[in-house]
């Protein structure tokens, strides 16, 4: 069971309290009616599915209830960082150091 740091509660808590919520930084277009079918398809369905550091969303569903973002290495399952929803994408080189 993973331990996850909730940036809202500022506590590291067991995975059981959290729910995964898909890839992060996939913004819903401000005016969906203005986007093409291809753009809408990309928003709905196309995900990066990376091997390595993955930007993803979690919700502290059995805690504060907030959605937040995380960077998790899909190879090691290590969380590199968590940060509030809406905050900019953290810099991977800083996070991973030499491993980036």
């Amino acid at each position: 069971m993973l331990l996850i740091h909730c940036p809202c509660c500022d506590e590291t808590l067991p995975e059981m309290e959290f729910a995964y919520a898909g890839e992060a930084h996939v913004a819903r277009p401000a005016d969906p009616s203005a986007v093409s079918d291809a753009e809408w398809e990309a928003f709905l369905f196309i995900r990066t599915n990376v091997k390595g550091p993955h930007f993803e969303r979690w919700r502290h569903i059995h805690g504060c209830g907030r959605f937040f973002n995380a960077v998790r290495d899909t190879v090691s399952d290590r969380f590199l960082t968590t940060y509030p929803a809406g905050a900019p994408r953290p810099d991977l080189t800083t996070l991973m150091g030499d491993d980036a």
Partner: protein, 993 residues
């Protein structure tokens, strides 16, 4: 005294005989024995038959790595367990054990014919032999294989034991209580850490239990051990014997299975049988030691052939000689010491065969002093004996290659040692990388991301002094302390050796029965054949041969298998790589995984405030999500159909009462509540006046229906949203997601109120007669409070939110009262309606009534690929709104294409009732496979309509009104006419009464 027991030796209690049975025969062992040691003390080696060839087998080890000696243990019909390792099961008075996989008896087994047919069962035989004809699989191959192969028999009664679970947080967890683990625990505890020390054996000590001649700190090993355990207790270390670390998970989360009663004659029934500890450790020290490898040669599986270290353990720990006349074959020094101990205890050591040309002087001297024949530079090429080894075939290894003439050496036990390999399993669970040690020809642990250290033999160190020193160093490091002094060790029998693939032979290698994996009956020949037939990856070789895939997870076979496969591939072992070790480390009961979560505790059962009343009335319940809901209320001996027909009639003609408390409820409040509702639901909300309700439809952004429900506007800035029973949590999560991450600018609060309101649904033409006298502060006449109204009032003196809504097509009210008043109001309504024949009804009647009206159930009549238009709900879309969830999705090319499956009604021509889920075709005479154009989603008998009714999703259904479609069933084809989905009162006049 049993014949092979050595008086005064071992840690067993020679004054405490323990009687048990094996295959119906009574045996006496001693307190402290395992089943294996007790049987061996009587000279019984034959304990089972092998999985595939039914070859006679005896214990090859003395521990949890045992592949052969698997037995059934039994207290009662329900308390029985197959595949127990005789080397781990402690005996207790009255224990009953049986051998497995034999018919009719262990000593004469007809399944052993498989052994004669050996050539048929070689690598990949599952894939080759049973390819065709296909019909043979069900009728011939599978029943025969199941009867002939396999392990023990599972009990046929529910497990009466209970299993416990606990969480534990500790600074340092030490796995393995041998010298390295003991030293690590001591060092960490002395540095002030909270320490847990676990060991799978019945007592702590590890290799010290088999090496009593060592002296530590001036004391005999076992005195030192007792003093050390006392010191650990004083330091507050929690020592858990009979506790196996079965899995090592992320962030130092380690699962431990503790066995509490399997060794007790008469366990307290209050005790759990086993306990799962879920440990989160700051630091982990793995001190699991090393596993001895068998040697691979023809006949290496005959009862009496066992690991040299196991024989040493049986002698020193249990006081049991494994034979009178013992031969040894080895490539490692350690087997020599086992031979010396046996010779000193009175067994004749017939010969020590060592494949190495030279061994150290002290080994030669030790053998000479005991009169043991030494055959260095020799190999073993076979064994003889039917149910027990009687002799071993030995050849000299010629200098230039090739073998000398064979000679026969008589023996009743053959000890083998192929060297030692670190126990890498738990380390591998952490995804730790391994390093190939070319000198030791073994894999060693290398790097892991976990806060984990390996101490002692687990990282390739040999000998008790090194283990103690390394353990102390690792324990101190885990505690971030300086290592203390380590006690001096005398008489430490260290040594080294080499590693081999299969042993050389002068006989036809393709006929050799040289086993690598004893439990799955995989031979060296099988592995070479797999490579020859094209398997290149070790993972493919493993699956093709099943090497390492038995319940022992290849503890003995993985490294030998790798060596042979690498040799066959012409590659170095590290280039071939090791297969993956996965949890659990040893076979683990389902019971301990389930723990408390069984029966009624398997998952939560949510109950409404009316649940107890319904139960007292004899309601039949059904699960809906986690809820249990009253399905119908049978009277007398009524079946479901009769009860539902009676309940339906009561609602259509009089008045019925339904517990709708499970409806999901979400309070949406705040200055931007109406804007939020406009964006989330398809419908327009701006013009909905407070006090009015609307049917709301929720889509995903892909345009498909997710949920629905009636929504009341309580005030300009407040909505009472209802969701489907099963969808409540999902809808709230989706709303929170959009609110928090897409529209954080909206000032809205979302609150789940599902469990705060009991919802009592009164329906039927006489509803108002029952309700009106109980309502305070509100005129509920048709004119003052029309269909789709909501208001606050009191009902039976209790504050209520009263909705005039209907899911039946009759006049209906949903009375929301605080949950704690739900039952009282329900009972008041039942009393008040008695004169009107008020009838409680359940979910089945609710389903019939709504289907007669064509009201959909999301998840039954929709399946996640249905749009509002498909479901005939296009009217619920606020087309003028700039955006809502799913609006753009509805424009997707596939969603506007013709030929989509659409929801329609079906009436069968022969008035039979269709089966839900049945497939629909347009032409029943077309050749198979027929083109299926849809399926039946809902189907009920309907008294109101006078015939069975059904709803279905049918391709282009809306344009097929009046057409006939066909439902092929196993016995006939049913013709049905496509109709509108509103079967009853299509104009909705009855709602307006």
């Amino acid at each position: 005294m049993s014949r092979f027991r050595v008086p005064g030796m071992g840690r067993v209690d020679h004054e405490a005989p323990v009687k048990f049975r094996f295959d119906g025969v009574h045996y006496a062992g001693l307190a402290g024995d395992t089943v294996a040691s007790a049987l061996l003390s009587h000279g019984v080696h034959l304990m089972g038959r092998s999985f595939k060839y039914h070859r006679p087998r005896g214990p090859v080890s003395a521990g949890s790595d045992e592949p052969n000696a698997l037995i059934g243990t039994r207290r009662s019909r329900a308390r029985a367990e197959p595949n127990t390792r005789a080397t781990m099961q402690e005996i207790y008075s009255g224990l009953r054990t049986v051998s497995q996989n034999k018919y009719p008896s262990l000593k004469f087994d007809v399944g052993a014919v498989n052994d004669a047919a050996y050539m048929l069962f070689s690598a990949g035989f599952y894939y080759k032999t049973f390819m065709w004809p296909r019909s043979f699989w069900d009728r011939v191959y599978e029943p025969v294989i199941r009867a002939a192969a396999g392990l023990g028999v599972a009990p046929d009664r529910e497990d009466p034991d209970h299993y416990a679970g606990r969480y534990l947080h500790t600074d340092v967890l030490v796995v393995g209580a041998g010298p390295a683990g003991l030293a690590a625990a001591r060092a960490a505890a002395e540095a002030g850490q909270r320490v847990v020390l676990v060991d799978e054996q019945a007592e702590a000590g590890g290799s010290l239990l088999s090496e009593p001649s060592v002296r530590i700190g001036g004391k005999p090993a076992w005195d030192w051990l007792a003093a050390e355990l006392a010191a650990l207790e004083r330091l507050g270390v929690r020592v858990l014997p009979r506790t196996t670390a079965i899995g090592y998970y992320h962030q130092n989360f380690v699962a431990l299975c503790q066995r509490l009663t399997d060794h007790l004659a008469d366990p307290d029934p209050a005790l759990p049988r086993e306990r799962m500890w879920r440990v989160r450790a700051g630091q982990v020290v793995l001190a699991q030691g090393a596993l001895e490898k068998p040697l691979v040669f023809d006949g290496n599986d005959r009862p009496g052939v066992m690991l040299a270290g196991a024989a040493q353990t049986y002698l020193n720990r249990f006081g049991v000689r494994v034979g009178d006349r013992v031969a040894v074959v080895t490539v490692h020094d350690s087997a020599w010491f086992a031979a010396f101990d046996l010779a000193d205890a009175g067994s004749k050591v017939a010969a020590i065969v060592d494949l190495r040309p030279e061994v150290s002087e002290n080994l030669r001297d030790g053998a000479k002093a005991r009169g043991i024949t030494v055959l260095t530079g020799h190999t073993v090429t076979g064994t003889s004996g039917r149910l027990r080894v009687t002799s071993v075939r030995v050849n000299r290894l010629k200098d230039g290659g090739g073998l000398g003439a064979p000679r026969q050496i008589d023996c009743d036990a053959l000890l083998m040692c192929g060297g030692w390999t670190p126990s890498l399993h738990l380390f591998s669970h952490t995804k730790g990388s391994l390093r190939w040690d070319a000198d030791g020809r073994t894999f060693l642990p290398d790097r892991t991301l976990e806060d984990c250290r390996i101490a002692g033999a687990g990282r390739g160190l040999w000998g008790i002094a090194d283990a103690l020193a390394d353990g102390a160093a690792m324990g101190a490091a885990a505690a971030q302390a300086q290592p203390g002094t380590v006690p001096a060790v005398e008489n430490d029998r260290t040594g080294g050796g080499i590693a081999m693939a299969e042993l050389p032979t002068d006989r036809n290698a393709s006929r050799a029965r040289a086993f690598v994996d004893y439990q799955n009956d995989v031979t060296a020949k099988d592995l070479r054949l797999a490579v020859k037939e094209g398997m290149r990856s070790i993972e493919h070789v493993k699956r093709y041969t099943t090497n390492g895939m038995a319940t022992d997870q290849g503890k003995m076979s993985n490294i030998n298998g790798l060596m042979i496969a690498a040799d066959a591939l012409g590659k170095a072992p590290p280039q071939v790589g090791l297969t993956t070790f996965r949890p659990p480390y040893t076979p683990t009961t389902f019971g301990v995984f389930a723990g408390y979560h069984r029966g009624g505790h398997f998952e939560v059962t949510r109950k409404t405030p009316i649940d107890g009343w319904a139960e007292a009335q004899g309601a039949v319940f059904e699960p809906v999500g986690h809820w249990r809901r009253a399905r119908y209320f049978p009277r007398g001996r009524e079946g479901m159909d009769a009860a539902v027909a009676r309940e339906c009639a009561a609602v259509r003609n009089g008045v019925g009462l339904f517990d709708a408390s499970t409806l999901g409820k979400i309070e949406v409040a705040g200055p931007d509540a109406v804007e939020f509702m406009n964006r989330v639901y398809t419908n327009p909300w701006t013009k909905l006046q407070p006090g009015r309700c609307r049917y709301g439809l929720l889509l995903g952004d892909d345009g498909f229906i997710r949920d629905d429900g009636v929504i009341g506007r309580l005030a300009d800035d407040r909505f009472h949203v209802t969701t489907t029973t099963g969808g409540a949590a999902r809808v709230l999560n989706m709303m929170e997601d959009y609110l928090q991450t897409e529209w954080p600018d909206l000032d809205v609060w979302l609150t789940s109120t599902t469990e705060h309101w009991a919802v009592l649904a009164l329906n039927g033409p006489m509803t108002r007669d029952v309700l009106a006298p109980l309502v305070g502060g509100l005129d509920i006449s048709a004119g003052a409070f029309p269909h789709m109204s909501v208001a606050a009032c009191t009902v039976a003196g209790v504050p209520a939110r009263l909705f005039r809504v209907s899911f039946t097509g009759e006049v209906g009210f949903e009375i929301n009262v605080p949950a704690r008043h739900g039952l009282a109001v329900w009972e008041t309504l039942m009393d008040a309606g008695a004169d009107h024949g008020i009838t409680p009804y359940g979910t089945e009647t609710m389903h019939v009534l709504r289907a007669e009206k064509g009201y959909i159930i999301v998840g039954q009549d929709t399946d996640g690929t249905v749009t509002p238009h498909d479901a005939g709900l296009g009217w619920a879309i606020g087309k003028a709104k700039p955006d809502f969830i799913g609006k753009r999705g509805l424009e997707r090319p596939d969603l506007v294409a013709p030929g989509r499956k659409q929801l329609v009604g079906l009436l069968t021509e022969d008035r039979s009732r269709l089966e839900e889920g049945a497939q629909i075709v347009l032409d029943p005479k077309q050749p198979k496979p027929m083109k299926m154009v849809g399926h039946v989603t809902s189907s009920y008998a309907s008294a109101a309509v006078g015939r069975p009714i059904a709803m279905a999703l049918v391709e282009g259904g809306h344009d097929r009104m009046g057409e006939t479609v066909y439902v092929p069933m196993p016995d006939r084809v049913i013709a049905a006419k496509i109709t509108d989905t509103q079967f009853h009162d299509p104009a909705g006049d009855r709602l307006k009464l």
